[in-house]
């Protein structure tokens, strides 16, 4: 790789991001029913799935620690942002969503969601210092469960929320919750947040911190022997990851008017749960940010076509039954991916726009090598 390419690479990425943003801004102000009813909700769902997968990738792929309670942070973020925006709405700070006041509310809620989730991340990060592997996995699972269980039992997190709330039920009032119209007109905001988050995470991974974290994954003892404070970096990663999960939670409460804790559980029937996020990261490739993005979008589309696609109705009765349970299709897809590409779709490589023209050649040589290896 030549050095003079770097500036060019950045330029390409910048242009791609600008094109992406322009497309979404245009789409946001284009009036169209399909766009409003189908595309906009799907884009919002993709937005938080992408941030969730990428933020878990920091812990799972780069730090090499399995966390099974990542949705707990998301729940914290979702509830924080929903309640803060609700409080501002009840206080009469904003009435319409097309106002400067709402923009300020949105920013305050997202930042608050991220900060509160990060604080919880500190608490979860501390056991990570003492425990490893499966034990850490089970502790994070425990934390996720506790967070969900506590939210269920806090009176102001249920029903109408705040002073009018009651424990043990979903939160029906939410200051952020967008209607379909608003989802479309704010679509570009969601995409912008994803772009900002992804850029920050990629920069983090490429920085000095990112290198140390990867070193910890590869060999903890050697890393500490070279004078790095392992505890600091481990907690830092947990906090950083929780921070973005909080932002994803804020996006979730934008996309959903009512919040229920079951959406953030360890497992459930839908595609948002801690296990599903882990699965997304592994399928995309641990240690590949672009892999996480591709996997999040791919998994979402798979789910979407199974649930809404007309081709499912054309299938024979038994197969139709199978497709009523998208998790079954996922798990089979998952086993296939694991069997043929144990490191996930992308492995630990990144997809770079600059390299795309060279891909057909590389794929051809890959198969050639494989064939040659077989013949030998």
């Amino acid at each position: 790789m030549k050095k003079e390419n770097t500036a060019f690479r950045y330029l390409i990425n910048l242009v791609a991001i600008i094109i992406l943003m322009v497309v979404f801004v245009v789409l946001s102000f284009h009036s169209n029913n399909t766009l409003k009813l189908k595309v906009a909700p799907a884009v919002w769902q993709c937005c938080y799935l992408i941030i969730m997968a990428a933020s878990l990738n920091l812990v799972l792929g780069y730090l090499g620690q399995l966390s099974l309670g990542h949705c707990g942070f998301m729940a914290v973020g979702a509830y924080t942002s929903a309640l803060i925006s609700l409080a501002l709405q009840r206080a009469g700070f904003y009435t319409e969503k097309n106002s400067i006041q709402f923009a300020i509310t949105l920013i305050i809620s997202i930042v608050a969601a991220a900060v509160v989730a990060a604080l919880i991340g500190v608490i979860v990060g501390i056991p990570a210092l003492r425990l490893k592997g499966d034990y850490l996995a089970i502790i994070t699972l425990g934390f996720g469960m506790i967070i969900v269980n506590l939210i269920n039992n806090i009176p102001f997190c249920g029903q109408q929320g705040l002073a009018e709330g009651a424990a043990s039920s979903a939160l029906y009032a939410n200051g952020l919750g967008f209607t379909n119209d608003e989802k479309q007109s704010f679509m570009w905001v969601g995409v912008l947040i994803v772009v900002l988050c992804m850029t920050t995470m990629v920069m983090f991974v490429r920085s000095k911190f990112g290198r140390v974290i990867r070193a910890i994954r590869d060999n903890e003892i050697a890393t500490s022997a070279t004078g790095n404070d392992i505890s600091y970096y481990k907690i830092l990663t947990f906090v950083f990851s929780a921070f973005f999960a909080g932002i994803a939670g804020a996006l979730y409460s934008c996309a959903n008017v009512s919040l229920a804790t079951t959406s953030f559980a360890f497992t459930n029937g839908s595609i948002l749960n801690s296990v599903f996020i882990v699965v997304t990261v592994v399928v995309g490739g641990m240690g590949s940010m672009t892999g996480s993005v591709i996997a999040a979008i791919g998994m979402f589309l798979l789910n979407y076509t199974i649930k809404n696609g007309s081709w499912v109705n054309a299938l024979p009765e038994f197969l139709k039954n199978v497709f009523t349970y998208p998790m079954l299709v996922y798990s089979i897809a998952l086993v296939i991916v694991i069997l043929f590409r144990p490191k996930g779709i992308m492995g630990d490589k990144e997809l770079s726009l600059f390299d795309i023209p060279g891909y057909p050649k590389r794929i051809a040589s890959y198969f050639k090598n494989k064939k040659a290896a077989k013949e030998v």
């Binding site: 399995l66 056991p127 003492r130 425990l131 592997g133 499966d134 034990y135 996995a137 089970i138 502790i139 699972l141 425990g142 934390f143 469960m145 506790i146 969900v148 269980n149 506590l150 269920n152 039992n153 424990a167 043990s168 003892i221 360890f266 497992t267 296990v275 882990v278 699965v279 592994v282 641990m286 038994f318 039954n321 199978v322 009523t324 349970y325 998790m327 079954l328 996922y330 798990s331 089979i332 998952l334 086993v335 694991i338 069997l339 144990p342």
Partner: protein
């Protein structure tokens, strides 16, 4: 006083069921270092087998509980199939994490396949009630199901412990879990030992299913998920890989759960269960009875 006794018996009964399931988790983990997420779903398989076989046994004039032997066989076969078809090929190619993901996938496959099969269906089923009478000792009454659950689990645990200590295959199991390479050198057929472990673990899940439906007569396709997580937490709490640890962990989790439900609030039970787990692991990272193996540089 009677509230207290009620809480203790409920705790012991729940704990015994968790312990039975936890034994399966712990044995598999001990041998292949894999959290077998599909283990919870073996209970579901056992539950549905019992749902279909108990009425058939009653019709033939046999005691209903004898259906558990059929359930044990079915579960053991399912357990062995899961190992043969999914875990073994993945173990050869991937690392620990890919095996774990496969386990999660197998759990989803079993759950959703059960939902997709019309005869089993997504709706909960109500199995035949077994052991539904009470024994009175003075003013205190205890249900037969509770008594049987506690006694049977205790017998199975002791039996299993003796099995791993005294028999040839049990010794082979301990050997494989200690050092796989050395086991191969000693002429132990590692794959055979792993398969047998899966069969025993899944068989125990079938017994646990019988105990569970005797108390809560409802079979659903997702019953294994919650039970499985509690049992897994028990296994970790007691020290994963250790059989007495699984017993101890199961009983602690059961008592904590029933204690919180009785004295504080049933909706807070989860918080206390996981809080105990976190506190214990912070103090003893390998669990109560687990061995802490230092890392070699």
């Amino acid at each position: 006083m009677s509230t207290f006794m009620q809480f203790i018996t409920t705790g012991l009964r729940l704990g015994s069921v968790y312990a039975l399931i936890a034994l399966g988790y712990t044995m598999v983990y001990g041998i292949i270092k894999l959290i077998n997420f599909a283990h919870g779903d073996f209970i579901m398989v056992g539950g549905y087998t019992l749902f279909f076989t108990i009425p058939a046994f009653m019709k033939l004039g046999l005691p209903g509980w004898a259906a558990v032997f059929i359930a044990i066989i079915v579960c053991a076969v399912v357990g062995m199939l899961v190992e043969l078809l999914a875990y073994r090929p993945v173990r050869k190619r991937g690392n620990n994490l890919t095996s774990l993901i496969t386990a999660i996938a197998m759990s989803f496959i079993l759950e959703n396949l059960a939902q997709a099969i019309p005869a089993i269906g997504p709706d909960p089923r109500v199995p035949y009630m077994l052991f539904n009478n009470d024994i009175k000792i003075g003013s205190f009454s205890i249900s037969v199901a509770t008594l049987i659950t506690i006694v049977v689990s205790a017998i199975i645990m002791i039996g299993l412990y003796q099995f791993t200590q005294k028999t040839k295959i049990g010794r082979a199991m301990r050997c494989v879990s200690e050092d796989k390479q050395a086991a191969v050198l000693m002429g132990i057929n590692v794959n055979k030992v792993i398969i047998i472990t899966f069969a025993i673990g899944a068989g125990l899940a079938a017994v646990a299913a019988l105990m569970y439906i005797a108390q809560y007569p409802k079979v659903t396709t997702t019953m294994g998920a919650t039970l499985g997580i509690y049992a897994f937490v028990s296994a970790v709490l007691g020290g994963i890989g250790s059989l007495p640890g699984a017993m101890l962990g199961g009983i602690i989790i059961g008592i904590v759960q029933s204690g919180t439900s009785t004295y504080i609030s049933s909706s807070m039970a989860d918080t206390f269960v996981y809080l105990i787990l976190i506190v214990v692991l912070m103090v003893k990272p390998a669990g109560i009875l687990g061995k802490n193996i230092g890392e070699k540089v």
